[in-house]
C-alpha cells in the first residue's frame, strides 16, 4: 500500500513569530523544522504500510527557499521519498492555493492508496487544507482521525466528535487527517538519519506541476490583509512567589470572586 503524507516545514514554534511589515505574512527566513503535528501522520503512514506488508511512504511538501531539513527528519523516520515544491511565486499563497499545489504534487508522487495530513498546521492553522485537497482530487475524506486501520480496499477510522467519536468507513483512495497525539512518533535512528541524506527528493517548481505563476502566491489569493494591530492587553496581575502559603492567596482570591 502506498501512502502519501502532506507535511509542512515551519518556523520553530518556540521562537517568537513576526510578520513581515511589507507583505504581512509570517517571517520564514530562519531555519524551518518539521511541524510536530505532521509527525503523527508520518508515524501513522509508516505503521499502515508495515501492517499492509508492502508499499512505501512518500512525503509531499511546499516550502520557501528550497527548505529540506524538515523533510529530511521525516525521511529519517522511514519515509521512502519526497516531493518538494519550492518557488518564489508561491509567496503569499492562501490555504486554497496551497491545496491546489499539494494536490498536483500528490499526483506527481505516484498512485496513492491513501493521503494523510495533520488536522491543521501549527503556524497557519486554517484546518481547511485536508478537505480542500480531497475535493480537488475528487476523493472521499475523513477528518480528525484518532485511529486508522486499512481493511482491503477500505479504511476504517475513529473520527473525533464533540461528544466522543464516530466509526467511519471509507473506500480507498481517500484523504484522512490525523489528530495530534494519537500515535507515538518514532525518533529517527542514527542509521535512519544517515540513510535519509541519500533518499530521493524530487524538487519541483510551480511550472513543473503545470500551474501558472498567476494562479498562486499573492496573485492567486482571493483575500488581502488590510490591517494589523495590537490586541487589547490584559491588565497586569499580582504575581507572588510560593512561600508555602501560596495556596491561601488562591483561596482568598476565589472567596473574593464569590466562587467559594
Amino acid at each position: 500500500m502506498n501512502v502519501v503524507v502532506c507535511v509542512k516545514q515551519i518556523p520553530d514554534p518556540a521562537d517568537p513569530g513576526a510578520l513581515d511589515p511589507e507583505s504581512k505574512t509570517l517571517v520564514r527566513s530562519g531555519k524551518l523544522i518539521l511541524d510536530e503535528s505532521d509527525s503523527y501522520g508520518v508515524e501513522m503512514a509508516l505503521q499502515l504500510v508495515d501492517a499492509a506488508g508492502g508499499g512505501e511512504v512518500t512525503l509531499v511538501s511546499m516550502a520557501p527557499n528550497d527548505e529540506q531539513s524538515g523533510l529530511r527528519t521525516a525521511l529519517a523516520m522511514g519515509a521512502a521519498k519526497a516531493v518538494l515544491v519550492s518557488d518564489d511565486a508561491l509567496k503569499g499563497s492562501d490555504a486554497l492555493t496551497t491545496a491546489k499545489v499539494l494536490a498536483k504534487a500528490i499526483g506527481r508522487a505516484g498512485d496513492a492508496d491513501l493521503v494523510l495530513t495533520a488536522t491543521e498546521s501549527s503556524d497557519g492553522y486554517t484546518g481547511t487544507v485536508p478537505e480542500m485537497v480531497a475535493e480537488i482530487l475528487g476523493l472521499p475524506s475523513v477528518t480528525f482521525a484518532k485511529s486508522i486501520t486499512v481493511d482491503g480496499s477500505a479504511v476504517k477510522v475513529q473520527r473525533q466528535t464533540e461528544a466522543g467519536y464516530d466509526d467511519v468507513e471509507c473506500p480507498l483512495p481517500a484523504v484522512v487527517s490525523v489528530t495530534a497525539g494519537v500515535v507515538e512518533p518514532r525518533y529517527p535512528s542514527f542509521k535512519g538519519i544517515m540513510a535519509a541524506k541519500s533518499k530521493p527528493l524530487d524538487q519541483v517548481t510551480v511550472a513543473d506541476l503545470g500551474l501558472e505563476a498567476g494562479q498562486v502566491g499573492w496573485a492567486g489569493a482571493g483575500q488581502e490583509i488590510i490591517e494589523v494591530s495590537e490586541a487589547e492587553a490584559r491588565e497586569a496581575g499580582t504575581i507572588v512567589e510560593d512561600d508555602g502559603e501560596g495556596f491561601q492567596k488562591v483561596v482568598d482570591f476565589l472567596a473574593e470572586l464569590k466562587v467559594i
Binding site: D94, S141, D166, Q223, E230, V240, D242, V250, F253
Partner: protein, 320 residues
C-alpha cells in the same frame, strides 16, 4: 445593513442546536437584512434558529449516517451557482464546519477566512478579524473577489441573543451527485461519558499541563475541579502525551473557553493554549517558571511547584 443576505451553517447534536450557531446568528443579524440557516437537520433546528432570528432553513437531505462536508458544500455551491445563494456564509470552527468550508472553497474557487473572532465592516464589505501570536496581534482580512464570503468563526466570539421569532420555514436544497467524494459512511457513534460540567458551560475551569510531571498527577487537577464544581481541562502538551483524551484540550486546536475563573496548573502558556483561554474573566496561574508566558495573562500568579501548591489548595477547599 452591510449585506443583504447571510447564511449560517446550523449544527445540532441530539436535536440541540449548538451555542456557536446561535452566536453566529446574533452577529449575522447585525450585518444583513436577511439571515437564513443551512442545516442537515432542518426540522430539528427550525424552532430554535427561528427564535434567534433566522427566517428560513435550507435543509440538506440525506446526510444521516454520512459526513456533512461533501453534501452540504455541494448543496450550497449549487444554490450559489443557480444565483440563489447568499452574500456571505458563516460556519463554526467545528469538525463539520471546517469540512464544509474546505469543500465549498474548492467548489466555488473562493478562499475562506478562518479563525475569525469578529466581523468588521470595511468599505461596505465584510472583513474577518483573526487573532495571531497568542492573541497579542489582530489581523483584519477581506475578500478581493465577489464570490460569497466564507468565514470560519471561532466559538464564543459573540453573545447569542433571542429575538422571539417564530419557527423558520424549512425547505430542501437539492444535493448534486457527489460521486466518490460522498462515499464515507458513519457505522457507529460513541459518546464518551462525562461527569460534572462541560468545558463549554462551566463557570470555573481547572486545567493541567506538562508541569504536572506525570499522568497520575492529573488526579490533582480532577480533585481541584471537583471541589470547585469546575470542568477539568488540559494543555495540548499532555493531550499529545496521551495523559487525557482530546476532549479535554483547551486551546487553538481544542476548546475555546471563557469561564468566570480559569485556573492553569503547570501550564507554561504556549500561544496554542493562550488563544483558547485568555478571554476568561479571571485567570489564576500556578507555575514553577517565573518567566512562563501564562503569567502575562494571569490576574493572580503563584510562582511555585504545582505538587506543593495543589494538595494544600485542595485540602483548604475541602475544609471550608
Amino acid at each position: 445593513m452591510t449585506v443583504s443576505k447571510i447564511w449560517v451553517f446550523a449544527e445540532a447534536a441530539d436535536g440541540k442546536v449548538s451555542n456557536t450557531t446561535l452566536e453566529m446568528l446574533a452577529k449575522a443579524r447585525e450585518l444583513a437584512d436577511t439571515v437564513e440557516c443551512v442545516s442537515t437537520a432542518g426540522n430539528d433546528v427550525a424552532a430554535v434558529v427561528g427564535a434567534n432570528g433566522a427566517t428560513a432553513v435550507h435543509n440538506v437531505p440525506g446526510v444521516d449516517g454520512k459526513l456533512a462536508g461533501p453534501a452540504v458544500a455541494g448543496a450550497i455551491a449549487a444554490a450559489v451557482q443557480a444565483g440563489s445563494g447568499p452574500d456571505a456564509i458563516f460556519l463554526a470552527t467545528s469538525y463539520d464546519g471546517r469540512d464544509v468550508a474546505g469543500r465549498l472553497s474548492v467548489k466555488l474557487d473562493a478562499p475562506v477566512i478562518t479563525n475569525v473572532v469578529d466581523i468588521a465592516e470595511r468599505d461596505g464589505s465584510l472583513a474577518g478579524v483573526e487573532p495571531i501570536f497568542g492573541g497579542t496581534t489582530n489581523v483584519v482580512t477581506k475578500f478581493t473577489a465577489s464570490t460569497p464570503d466564507i468565514f470560519l468563526i471561532r466559538p464564543k466570539s459573540f453573545a447569542a441573543e433571542e429575538t422571539g421569532g417564530g419557527a423558520a420555514a424549512v425547505s430542501d436544497l437539492s444535493v448534486p451527485d457527489l460521486g466518490a467524494t460522498g462515499a464515507a459512511v458513519v457505522t457507529n457513534r460513541f459518546v464518551e461519558e462525562q461527569t460534572g460540567p462541560s468545558l463549554d458551560d462551566a463557570d470555573v475551569v481547572v486545567s493541567g499541563g506538562r508541569g504536572l510531571g506525570e499522568s497520575d498527577s492529573f488526579d490533582m487537577v480532577e480533585q481541584l475541579a471537583k471541589s470547585l464544581g469546575a470542568a477539568p481541562g488540559a494543555s495540548r502538551a499532555i493531550v499529545d502525551a496521551g495523559w487525557v483524551p482530546y476532549s479535554y484540550q483547551v486551546g487553538q486546536t481544542g476548546k475555546v473557553v471563557k469561564p468566570n475563573v480559569y485556573i492553569a496548573a503547570g501550564i507554561s502558556g504556549a500561544t496554542q493554549h493562550l488563544v483558547g483561554m485568555k478571554g476568561s474573566k479571571h485567570i489564576i496561574a500556578i507555575n514553577k517558571d517565573p518567566e512562563a508566558p501564562i503569567f502575562s495573562v494571569a490576574d493572580l500568579g503563584i510562582v511555585g511547584d504545582v505538587h506543593k501548591v495543589l494538595p494544600k489548595l485542595i485540602e483548604a477547599l475541602q475544609n471550608r
